[in-house]
Structure formats: structure tokens, C-alpha cells
Amino acid sequence: MSNLSNTPSVRPLDQPAVSARVLWTAAGVGSLLLLLAYLVAFDQGAVSQGGMYLHELLHDGRHLLGVPCH
């Protein structure tokens, strides 16, 4: 268990710093992934452009994933 604590003997790994390029890529990819989560949880056709079809198809998943539905 000792390596879970941050005693001086256990230092963070010498991992290279995250480069600016990775940071920007991560920001872009993260936004797309949030958009995907939005599509499942909330979208009512504005993003999917399929009317309410996708919203209704994903209906049970929304309820069981704990998202407010209706």
C-alpha cells in the first residue's frame, strides 16, 4: 500500500511532459467525445439531423444511464 501514498521515496514516474501538440489534439478529440455523449444523452435531432428517430431509438439507454429523459 505504501506506493499509493506520496511519501518522498515514491516519486511520480519520470514521464515526459505532455507536448503542446498532444494537448491540442486531446482538446479536439475530447470535444468530439463529449459531442458523442451529448448525442446519446440529450440530442433531439439538432445534431443527428434525423429528427427524433435517434432520440427515440436510444430512449431506454438514456433512462438506464440515469440521464433525465422525460
Binding site: 519520470d14 463529449l34 429528427g51 431506454d60
Partner: protein
Amino acid sequence: MSLRSARTTPSYGSLLLRGLLAGLIAGLLAGVFAYATGESRIDAAIAIEEAAAHAAAPGAADDGHHDEELVSRTGQKGGLFLATALYGVAMGGLLATAYTLLRRRLRTPSDTRAVFGLAAAALVGIVLVPFGKYPANPPAVGDPATINQRTIAWVSIVVIGLVAVWAGVVAARAPRSGAPEWLRAAAALAGFLVVVAIGYVLLPTVDEVPAAFPASLLWTFRLASLGTQVTLWTMLGLAFAALLHRLRRDVPAEAEAVAV
């Protein structure tokens, strides 16, 4: 030291790919759990909802949400797997992204523990904290007129849940080095609870369960929903850690040995 720095770090791309795959696996497993435990409850709740709608306005158009039959009930049961799979993929990608950005700050030499720590943080922040304030509701529970307010409040509590976990970590690291473990744990708990308490007090209370709705059905539905999300995050953590382990196996053994 030279061995340590020789340890290669996987690229963001390779981590992201594994996160998305782990998310797909976890999402499908969560879908199986949701299908097995939740679908019969949703059916029962919809039956109650439709009975109430017909009793209130016999022959009149229903509230329109479920009765348009844009997608049949069978279609929605299949759509459940699509929903949990897509949601799992999104969460898996976000977990891989968080891992990439935060790995250096997680003070453990073990990649597996780093992944488990992040997945546990997400489970607490995104699932358990929101569940305490706004537990999942089956159809027939909830006033359609308040859906926008409820959605905003739910997103707020998810953000607050993640902030609370972050506050717990910051608090755990606040005592000077050499402080006893129990003190760090107590500080983490205090930091976490303060943020959660503020969120719970400030956000509006929602209680829209109709008086006639069966308590046992509400309870079993909420358990099914909680189980679905716990399945998703535990399986996501396990699957991502396993895929990461396979990726790391190519690293020279002595570099790994120094790190552990």
C-alpha cells in the same frame, strides 16, 4: 535513473484507440446488464404511464413522447445496446484522454492503479454523486414540463461530482510530506464532502414521483440503473488496464522492474 527514463510512453493515439475499444466492450457489457435487469421495469413503467394517460384523457392524443411509435418497443430494446455502446465509447475515449494528460500527476508507478484510480474517480464523480441528488427515473416519473431545468441541474451535479473528487485529491496532497496516511484520507474525505454538500444544498430538489407509482418498481429500476453504470465503469477500467498492459509488454523488462 537511465533505465527509468528509457521507459517508453505510449503515444496518445495508441492510448486513445485502446480507450475507445475498452469503452465499446464495457458499453456492451453494461447493455447486457441493463437489458437483463432494467427492460422489464421500463415496460412496467410505460404500462403505468399509458394507463394514466388514457385515464386522464380517454381518446385524446397522448403526451406524444412514447406513443408516436417512431421506434417500436422492440426497436428501443435493441437501441439500448447502441446507447450503452456509444456512451461507453465516448467515456472510454475520455478516460484514455484523461490518462494521457494526468498520468504524470498520478503518484503511482503502476499503470494499472493509475487507470483504476481514474475510473474510480469517474464512477464517484459522474455516477455516485449525481445518483445521491438526482437518482435515475423510469418512464412515468417526471414532469415533461420541467425537463430542461432537470437536465441543467443534472449536468451541474455531474460537474460538481468531478470537482468534488478533484478537491478530495488536492486535500489529500495538502499536508506536508511525512504526514500520516490517515490524515491524508481524512483531508480527502473532508475536501470531497464539502464540495458535495455545497452542490446538494444549492441545486434544486426534484421530487416528481407520482403518489400512485409503485415504490418497489422505482427501487428496482434505480438499482438496475446504478448497476448498469457501475458495470460500465468497472469494466471500462479493467478493459483499459488490460489493453494497456498488453501495450506495455513490449517495454524492456528491466525498465519495468525499476518502475515497479
